[in-house]
């Protein structure tokens, strides 16, 4: 690399300020798009992974077929199924859960939110294993009836007045006493829930038998796949049907990752398209820039420039444009991803944005190579011309 060539390139870039900047902007947009999209989709994946790890891998979740998530009005599971599973050895505990959307009244205001119910005596262990913690107040325990634990967002945002420990709320027209407020969990779904004892929920929702989800916590060291098969076998034998599904946390994570993988492909695809458009823009602008300077190339050759000098000057120029675009684009893309992260937090959706040096380096390198590539062809063509032909070019 020759410093003099760099200086000529810099002069030339500065001489064509507007065109140079427009080209740089094209690269910035392409690189920023790909950096932010890759960062966001990778952050999404790692956020979900992290949440699942919190959840614990030692769990088997049984639900009715077609179950898509808590709150779905799934058909099929009953307390009998809970008993069936409880008879299988190898579990620390088996928790039945009932979920209903219900009208909630507080200080004269009403609204709807999700009510989750587990057996009163199981809250302490289950929440401890799940990593859900109280912000203030106390946990639901054995013998509790008309008491409620309030999710952080419900407590803070649902009604005009913030809920506090000891307040009264009305769920499905029945009075409850708030005994605890949960710490923020980080996802909208959990933070917008109210937890009450299962026995009371069965009364107020008139659901004596039904269970929406059964969570079986596996004893540490137990063989999870074999327990999973055992549950499937026993349930099928007792029920005489297969209208249920038995999933491990790992399997659920795999399923989510599959969906995420598709999403990632789509996101990166979009980014790649924007980058391609940017690349074509750069090539076009580089090409015209070199073409319109064919005469300049002729002049340089007439005063003694070798083809290699010409190539170096033009490569330096397009490489510099690529590098500047790559730097600014990486910065902008990172800022965009961080902004999306903080926006998602405000919207009640947890996205831990992770900035990866490798992604940034990729963006930078990509822009540099793109700049060089789009400069090399026209520069080579121009350098190859006979000086007299290049000089004649208008």
């Amino acid at each position: 690399m020759n410093l003099d060539h760099v200086l000529i390139a810099v002069h030339s870039i500065r001489h064509r300020k507007l065109r140079s900047w427009l080209t740089v902007v094209g690269i910035i947009i392409g690189v920023a798009a790909i950096i932010s999209l890759i960062t966001v989709s990778r952050s999404l994946e790692s956020t979900i992974q992290q949440q699942f790890e919190q959840f614990g891998a030692n769990r088997i979740i049984i639900s009715a077929k077609g179950f898509q998530g808590p709150g779905t009005m799934s058909q099929g599971l009953t307390t009998e199924d809970v008993d069936t599973i409880q008879k299988i050895s190898g579990f620390k505990y088996v928790v039945p859960g009932l979920f209903r959307s219900a009208e909630v009244g507080f200080h004269g205001e009403t609204g709807f939110t999700l009510i989750g119910a587990l057996p009163a005596e199981q809250y302490r262990d289950f929440y401890a294993d799940t990593g859900i913690e109280l912000d203030r107040g106390k946990m639901i325990q054995e013998g509790d009836t008309h008491v409620a634990l309030i999710g952080s967002r419900v407590a803070a945002d649902m009604f005009g007045k913030e809920m506090g420990v000891g307040n009264k709320i009305i769920i499905n027209k029945v009075n409850f006493k708030i005994i605890g407020i949960m710490k923020e969990i980080g996802n909208d779904h959990d933070d917008n829930q109210i937890a009450i004892p299962l026995e009371t929920a069965r009364e107020i929702f008139n659901e004596p038998e039904r269970v929406d989800t059964i969570i079986a916590q596996v004893k540490s060291g137990a063989d999870i796949p074999s327990l999973q098969h055992k549950i499937e076998r026993e349930l099928e034998r007792k029920r005489g049907d297969t209208n249920f599904q038995v999933l491990t946390a790992t399997q659920i994570l795999e399923q989510i990752n599959q969906v995420l993988g598709v999403m990632q492909v789509v996101l990166v695809g979009i980014a790649a398209i924007s980058l391609l458009v940017g690349a074509i823009g750069i090539m076009n602008s580089m090409y015209t820039s070199v073409l319109e300077r064919t005469k300049e190339i002729g002049i340089m050759k007439a005063i003694g420039a070798r083809n290699s000098d010409i190539l170096q000057i033009f490569l330096m120029e397009s490489g510099l444009i690529g590098l500047v675009g790559g730097l600014l684009g990486s910065a902008l893309g990172t800022a965009g991803a961080l902004a999306l992260g903080s926006f998602s937090k405000g919207a009640g959706f947890l996205l831990l944005v992770k900035i990866e040096i490798s992604v940034l380096l990729f963006g930078l390198l990509f822009a540099l190579v793109l700049g060089l590539l789009s400069g090399i062809l026209p520069a080579y063509q121009a350098a190859k011309l006979k000086p007299v032909e290049a000089l004649r070019y208008e």
Partner: protein, 224 residues
């Protein structure tokens, strides 16, 4: 005295859709060191083509061209670039300065391609710009200079590598009469300093400074 430039039976033929158009139709000529040669003829007579061939900007279809001891028909593109850079200085009708570089850098550019350090380049370029009367215009871009000033920058650039030969193609063509005369005086003074000058023009009035006039028509030399 052996000739500095020697053309023997040189042809330059352009092929235009099966028709062969000779721009130069078999010419031979010799130019000695220290000559001031005027190459004159109407437009299309082939005079510029001769200059391009001598200046290694173009290659002949047939014939041999010697510059000093080199037969330039046998040289590589990179060797030709060396000759253009070191032995020849060009002055064009349209000045042909690099628009993004100021006068000083334009003048110094041929030295840059010879890999001469910046301080030496600038020193010499400044001296030459002073000689052509542009001491106060060194840091102006070409578009901030008048036509005559641009041509003087171009002349300074042509001289910077101390070439033996200066090729001037209609150097006054884009200038008014008075400025043109000043440029011609400059050329003449370089001739007196021992440079070999080849002036291409269609204007007979400019040939009076030359010690040798070559008239061309239809790609051939008229009666020497």
């Amino acid at each position: 005295m052996s000739a500095l430039i020697k053309l023997q039976d040189v042809y330059k033929i352009y092929s235009l859709e099966d028709v062969e158009v000779p721009a130069i139709d078999g010419i031979s000529l010799e130019i000695n060191q220290g000559d001031f040669v005027a190459l004159i003829g109407p437009s299309g007579s082939g005079k510029s083509t001769v200059m391009n061939l001598i200046g290694c900007l173009d290659t002949a279809t047939k014939g041999t061209i010697h510059l000093g001891s080199h037969n330039i028909q046998h040289l590589s593109e990179s060797d030709l670039a060396q000759i253009r850079g070191k032995q020849i200085g060009f002055i064009f009708q349209t000045f042909n300065l690099i628009p993004s570089l100021h006068a000083l850098d334009n003048v110094a550019l041929p030295m840059l391609f010879q890999h001469i350090p910046k301080s030496a380049r600038n020193k010499k370029a400044k001296k030459l710009l002073e000689q052509v009367g542009l001491a106060d215009r060194m840091y102006h871009l070409p578009n901030q200079l008048s036509g005559g000033q641009r041509q003087r920058v171009a002349i300074a650039r042509a001289l910077i590598n101390d070439p033996e030969i200066i090729l001037a193609d209609e150097p006054t063509g884009n200038l008014d009469t008075k400025t043109g005369e000043e440029i011609m005086k400059l050329l003449s003074s370089f001739h007196r300093q021992g440079k070999t000058i080849i002036l291409v023009t269609h204007n007979p009035a400019l040939t009076k400074l030359a010690n040798k006039v070559i008239r061309m028509k239809d790609g051939q030399i008229m009666g020497g």
